[in-house]
Symmetry: C2
Subunit: 405 residues, 2 copies
């Protein structure tokens, strides 16, 4: 007998047939004697429709009202899945964020979970009732509905697993696990049986869309055993584990890419102390996240500052720099949205030298120019022209020996 | 300065343009210096979709989960209207049933309102904030979402008006008031400037779909000044008033019809005391509402019992009678769903004789056979073949002098 949290994403609950399919999977676990809580996303497409309505009424909508609107998607799915389970003679009830309650901070639209009250759920699960929890939503300190940001249902599931002291948190999705890279680009990409929390965290943060970054952080912190697997196939998935649980270690676990960033270059700013603070302080003041940064010093006492921001933040970035133009003092600003960030991730980098160099050499052999480089302990990222995405990912996948036999 | 509750139905908030139109109307009242609370229904079609999903998963769904699912329709509209108002520089916030809270009893799917906490809304309305309240929903004693039955947003609005001690409750809909009868059938139907609570209550309960019956009951009990008017045209509507506020009294206020009933005849039951209790007790035990009843005594010591039930309840009615067959002892049961109930309503009946006779004579002149008759103090209803609906309504409209000049 185990206590399990199962999470199903939007494509897994896209219509009534798929909701019935999910109910069958839940029933199977319950019939095997397990205690089960389920976390559900909105039916595929629903959240986008709700967001579009908010944006259609006001470009800068009130995040509290946005939360009230978009949280309904998960509310609908939770009620429908409870009905589908009851129809299969499985005792079940839906739980909304405010009913648990799942308390969050007050950052509407991207709230962080503060606590989940689990005692009543544990009691009912012990009596055989399946808890169907609406993902993505919480109760703010203002007594209003909050949402946890796109992909937030993953985080709901992991947090619930921690609160319920669950033995496992199974994240069912439309892929059957975590791959060495995007199988749509690399046919010989391999599914990983296991991946470390650290690697998954880096991969999620640099574009691998399997899990929300925050859910991985939380799983790592709370040591929740997360498994990513398909809701459509009966196959083993990918298990998130501690480093010492991986027997056959590879140097690189996976290669991720994201086209979500844009490059900004501030040209010919005076090369004096405090200039970086002036530029990035202006952006921080507008809560714009800056990712990769590189600085080139020219001979004439000026410098070029190049960095990346999210494409959606580009207009606000230019406005903020323009506003601080006098304080910074630059000649011009150029931008390039046609870039891709490619990252190789692996805990093996800690003990192996030359990982970054393999990357640079491989790209050079394909005549791909590297525009910006950034590194962390277990990751190397480069910014290159977007048109080289497929070429670069395939070449690196081969160079790091990740191709399936 | 007045305190106003405005209620908008599903067709009035069917898309973003119409939601903006509603916001303009609300802003106009606010700009005129009034304190405003708005009650909204789900966007047209949304509730039907949500209900269809529940039914698609289980014919006999759990009403608690049904409520969780269908209440989202009003939640979405409340958030969207708040956003639309803010975009017009009107301070506004949405309120869900559990946030007010609007407490109801635990009869999920058709809950009755028990109380509404109005103090915080009154405080905020005094500061100029518009309260946008999701209609149709409440908080049950089990801490879960309840809904008030189809058309329940009317009742939400009237109850809110009572709780807020509002000066007016304006029900905006897709017709511009209460008519002497259905204008789709009678071209010369007239809009009534005023109608008494009692008349409106009878009309609502016998098929006029302008207002939910319970909302009229509540308005009458709490003396809420309800006005029915169009959200699309700038025209005066129909005001619900006390009898002494109507100057030019007519004998009949309006004619309503409903095709929602079916006729059931239990043939040749023994004509002995307790037989009605046996039949109708069996139906009451299944919470089946019986409307019109007529009993014919035959010469052989048996009797035929004819009555009407809602068409949707017909299968359950037959099952209940079958179950009690031995106790009742009947020869056969016949049913006829092709019937219509036509009602004439007017407080003038109290002081004028011959109103019912005018009805019977008019129908006889058109050779329409009356199958069942029932009367109340201010209403006469007859059951006739459904194919005579238009003929009967038009003839009666003329006979009672209701045709527009």
């Amino acid at each position: 007998m185990a206590r399990i949290v199962m999470k199903f994403g939007g494509t897994s609950v896209a219509d009534l047939d798929r909701i019935r399919n999910v109910a069958s999977r839940v029933k199977r676990e319950r019939d095997a004697g397990h205690e089960v809580a389920v976390v559900v996303s909105a039916m595929a497409g629903v959240t986008n429709q709700l967001v579009a309505w908010c944006q259609g009424l006001a470009p800068l909508y009130d995040a509290r009202e946005y939360d009230t609107v978009v949280a309904t998607g998960e509310q609908v799915t939770s009620g429908l899945l409870a009905i589908a389970l009851q129809q299969m003679e499985v005792d079940a009830r839906s739980w909304l964020g405010w009913q648990l309650p799942l308390r969050s901070d007050g950052a509407h639209g991207r709230a962080r979970i503060e606590s989940i009250e689990g005692a009543e759920l544990i009691r009912r699960m012990g009596l055989g009732q399946v808890a169907v929890v609406a993902g993505f939503q919480g109760l703010g300190p203002d007594g209003r509905v909050t949402t946890l940001g796109r992909g937030g249902s993953d985080t709901s599931a992991v947090a619930l697993a921690a609160a319920l002291r669950a033995d496992r948190c199974d994240i069912y999705t439309d892929v059957d696990g975590v791959y060495t890279t995007d199988p749509r680009i690399v046919k010989r990409a391999r599914k990983l049986d296991r991946i470390t929390y650290e690697e998954m965290l880096e991969l999620a943060s640099v574009g691998a869309k399997v899990l929300q970054t925050r859910s991985v952080e939380l799983a790592m912190k709370e040591r929740v055993r997360v498994q990513v697997l398909s809701s459509f196939a009966d196959l083993p998935g990918t298990l998130l584990v501690d480093e010492d649980e991986i027997v056959e270690k590879t140097i690189v676990a996976g290669i991720a890419y994201t086209r979500d960033d844009a490059k900004v270059t501030v040209r010919r700013v005076p090369d004096r102390p405090g200039i970086a603070a002036a530029i990035f302080g202006a952006l921080a003041g507008e809560t714009i996240n800056v990712d990769m940064i590189v600085q080139n010093v020219a001979a004439d006492g000026t410098t070029d500052m190049t960095f990346t921001v999210g494409k959606a933040d580009l207009p606000r970035t230019l406005a903020a720099l323009d506003h601080a133009a006098e304080r910074i003092g630059f000649a011009e600003i150029t931008t390039d949205p046609d870039v891709v960030k490619i990252s190789v991730v692996g805990v093996g980098m800690r003990s192996h030298v030359g990982v970054a160099n393999t990357m640079f050499r491989t790209l050079a052999e394909k005549s791909i120019n590297i525009q910006v480089i950034s590194t962390s302990e277990i990751k190397v990222s480069v910014l290159i022209g977007a048109e080289y995405t497929e070429l670069a990912v395939r070449a690196l996948h081969t160079a790091y020996g990740l191709d399936a036999a």
